[in-house]
């Protein structure tokens, strides 16, 4: 029984970590830049298709495709940010919503046109397939890999934001744009780099998601809701918040399905509503 519980917690955590990698970029851009980027899921989808192309068409190993997914998603997003999104920073939330949802429509259609509507299978390296036995329990190797990646990302982000010059610039620009400009910080560049970082993480998340949840042109819509749940429950702009929220939701979802299968579909939503009703700013939110 204890063993079962351990496995359920582990599986839930792994699923949560996938949600975390997919969402943390959105939390950063929404929290730091006040930009409602519903196209975040579209950048995740882009990362996924990059992985498919790199592994299948170029024949490179899966691990190589991960940085490629990050970089391509980051570069494409920064292109959009420089040319289009930046015009919307002052345009109000509703216009940001309309514009970015329009982008998701267009991206989804483009993906269907280029890659077709079928699911995209990928081949994992041998060491990520199958299971790793530990204390008599069988843990999915890929899930272990996911958890490690998520922990590394969390560590890098927290360190980067707290202890680097650039992190300090981001925090300054968020607190007070004008003051930051006065201090000689190039706010434009800070925003662009932050945006690229956030979208790059989405691309990485999309690449990592294929093995767990598949990839087709509706990915950008499908996972948007889950991303927004993680971001709102965790609290805008909080990396630790996203991490905790994603873990909580992943574990609660799997544990709920395991112990009370009839409530399985409701669990995530019930938790979200309860958390936000009691703490509208999210678990780690400041406002």
């Amino acid at each position: 029984m204890i063993g079962n519980l351990a496995i359920v917690l582990f599986d839930g955590l792994a699923f949560g970590m996938l949600l975390f990698v997919l969402s943390v970029g959105l939390s950063v851009t929404l929290g730091l830049m006040n930009f409602v980027n519903l196209a975040h899921g579209a950048f995740a989808m882009l990362g996924g298709y990059v992985t498919v192309l790199v592994t299948r068409e170029l024949g490179l190993p899966f691990l190589w495709s991960l940085p490629a997914a990050f970089i391509v998603a980051a570069l494409v997003s920064v292109g959009f940010e420089r040319t289009l999104f930046r015009r919307l920073y002052r345009a109000g939330e509703l216009n940001q919503v309309l514009f970015t949802i329009g982008l998701v429509f267009a991206a989804s259609a483009a993906a269907a046109y280029v890659f077709g509507t079928a699911q995209q299978p990928i081949q994992l390296p041998q060491f990520l397939r199958g299971v790793t036995e530990f204390a008599g329990l069988r843990f999915g190797s890929y899930r272990i890999f996911l958890i490690i990646i998520a922990l590394v990302i969390t560590g890098l982000l927290v360190l980067g934001l707290e202890y680097t010059r650039f992190g300090a610039q981001i925090r300054a620009a968020v607190d007070n744009q004008r003051a930051a400009q006065g201090l000689g910080i190039d706010v434009d560049t800070v925003f662009a780099v932050t945006f690229a970082l956030g979208s790059g993480l989405a691309g990485l998340g999309g690449a990592l998601a294929i093995e767990m949840v598949g990839l087709d042109p509706s990915f950008g819509f499908h996972y948007l809701v889950y991303m927004m749940i993680v971001v709102s429950v965790g609290g805008l702009g909080s990396i630790a918040g996203s991490f905790v929220a994603a873990s909580l939701l992943g574990i609660a979802d799997v544990a709920g399905k395991y112990f009370v299968p009839d409530l399985g579909a409701f669990m995530i939503y019930l938790i979200m509503i309860a958390v936000l009703f009691l703490r509208p700013q999210g678990l780690f939110g400041k406002r």
Binding site: I7, D11, G116, R138, V213, P217, V254, Y258
Partner: protein
């Protein structure tokens, strides 16, 4: 200002207003499917089947030209399907309504086929009651009870499974599959030791797979929609060691679609599924169909949706030949009843009473053939009818 907008709008509609060519020498077929949205792939495969049939057999039947009009529901959207059916009838003047990848959409449009007296060919949607909604409806796919009741019986009698656990997706087809498999299985003498339904959200099956493992059944029966779910479930089962030969894994054929097998790898070996069409079945009609289909679709293989569309067009063509071009629903339904032909799936007959297909139910197992994993037919249950018709009421 508002008047101007209204004027501009009506002008826009006017431009799009297509003239109602009601020429005597064409047969118009309106296809209603979810070409976009989460079920787009089903529609695309079916469309490819339809296109292939027309390419092979020409677009003229009984001296009339076949004209196809495609309508996207973006669904599952019952109300959209109904509207599109109405518009196809009153504006485009179609003679035949066809397609219908999704059950709610077929049910939504059924009333139009009845009210508008149009022949309606359901090429996929698989809930039993659809054909009971109007005498003008004929189906060329299958029903879920047809496959799974027979499969349940087979599992007990032929595979020697005594007890099984069922896991189905939490939507109407899943519930149908659970019920019909259990019916066939328990009627034969088997025992269901547990039953779960998994939500349609993100495909994370770890909790359900653990529940199955806790129950340590002899066999697991699974029904889930195609797409992202099959590989995810296959992998989750493998991680818990719930794969053949330790545990018998039974499912409807979506679980072992080619993309899913590719993604699952060796863990797919030994999965036993039921379907009314198997791409790998060695048969001259089928081999020719598969070859032509792949050539026309950049290497993509056909599936049951493709065959549903292909056979649906065959039914329409042959019925039109029989009626000599008469497109009235009455004549076409009469012509369809009892029609029998060699399809890529094998022999199929339109049941004159229920207007559903009488066909073979195939039992397949994933095996390695020439170094490649694929579904191999291991048994065939011939001439199976839908067991539910006449029972629901």
């Amino acid at each position: 200002m508002i008047a101007r907008i209204a004027a501009a709008l009506t002008l826009g509609v006017g431009l799009a207003f297509s003239a109602q060519a009601n020429a005597q020498d064409t047969v118009k077929i309106g296809l209603i499917m979810a070409y976009s949205g989460p079920f787009a792939d089903t529609a695309n495969q079916m469309q490819a089947g339809i296109d292939l049939y027309i390419a092979q057999h020409g677009d003229e039947v009984a001296g009339k030209k076949i004209e196809i009009i495609k309508k996207d529901t973006g669904g599952p959207k019952a109300d959209e399907a109904k509207r599109l059916a109405q518009e196809l009838v009153v504006r485009d003047g179609v003679d035949i309504l066809a397609g219908f990848t999704l059950t709610p959409e077929a049910l939504g449009a059924a009333g139009v086929a009845d009210q508008g007296k149009k022949f309606m060919v359901v090429m996929n949607a698989a809930t039993s009651i659809i054909t009971e909604k109007s005498p003008n409806i004929v189906r060329t796919s299958m029903t879920i009870p047809q496959l799974n009741t027979a499969f349940g019986k087979w599992a007990f009698e032929k595979a020697g499974v005594k007890q099984a656990y069922t896991l189905v997706a939490d939507y109407a087809p899943g519930h149908d599959a659970e019920k019909s498999f259990a019916k066939g299985f328990t009627d034969a003498g088997g025992k269901i030791v547990g039953a779960d339904t998994s939500p349609m959200g993100p495909p994370d099956f770890s909790a359900f797979v653990q529940r199955i493992k806790d129950a340590s059944p002899e066999a697991v029966f699974v029904f889930i929609p195609g797409g992202a779910q099959p590989p995810a479930l296959g992998k989750a089962l493998a991680q818990r060691g719930l794969t053949p030969p330790d545990v018998k894994l039974l499912a409807q054929g979506e679980l072992t679609f080619p993309e899913a097998i590719e993604s699952m790898g060796d863990t797919a070996k030994g999965i036993i599924t039921t379907f009314n069409y198997t791409m790998e079945r060695d048969d001259p009609t089928n081999n020719a169909f598969v070859k032509a289909y792949r050539e026309a679709n950049g290497g993509r293989s056909p599936d049951i949706y493709s065959v549903g569309g292909y056979d649906g067009m065959h039914l329409i063509y042959e019925a039109l030949k029989k009626t000599g071009g008469d497109t009235s629903a009455e004549a076409l339904v009469e012509a369809s009843k009892g029609m029998s032909w060699e399809s890529p799936r094998g022999k199929m007959t339109i049941d004159p009473e229920t207007r559903d297909v009488i066909q073979s139910v195939y039992i397949r197992e994933v095996k390695e053939v020439d170094g490649k994993l694929q579904n191999v037919v291991i048994d065939e249950i011939p001439e199976v009818k839908d067991p539910l018709h006449g029972m629901a009421n």
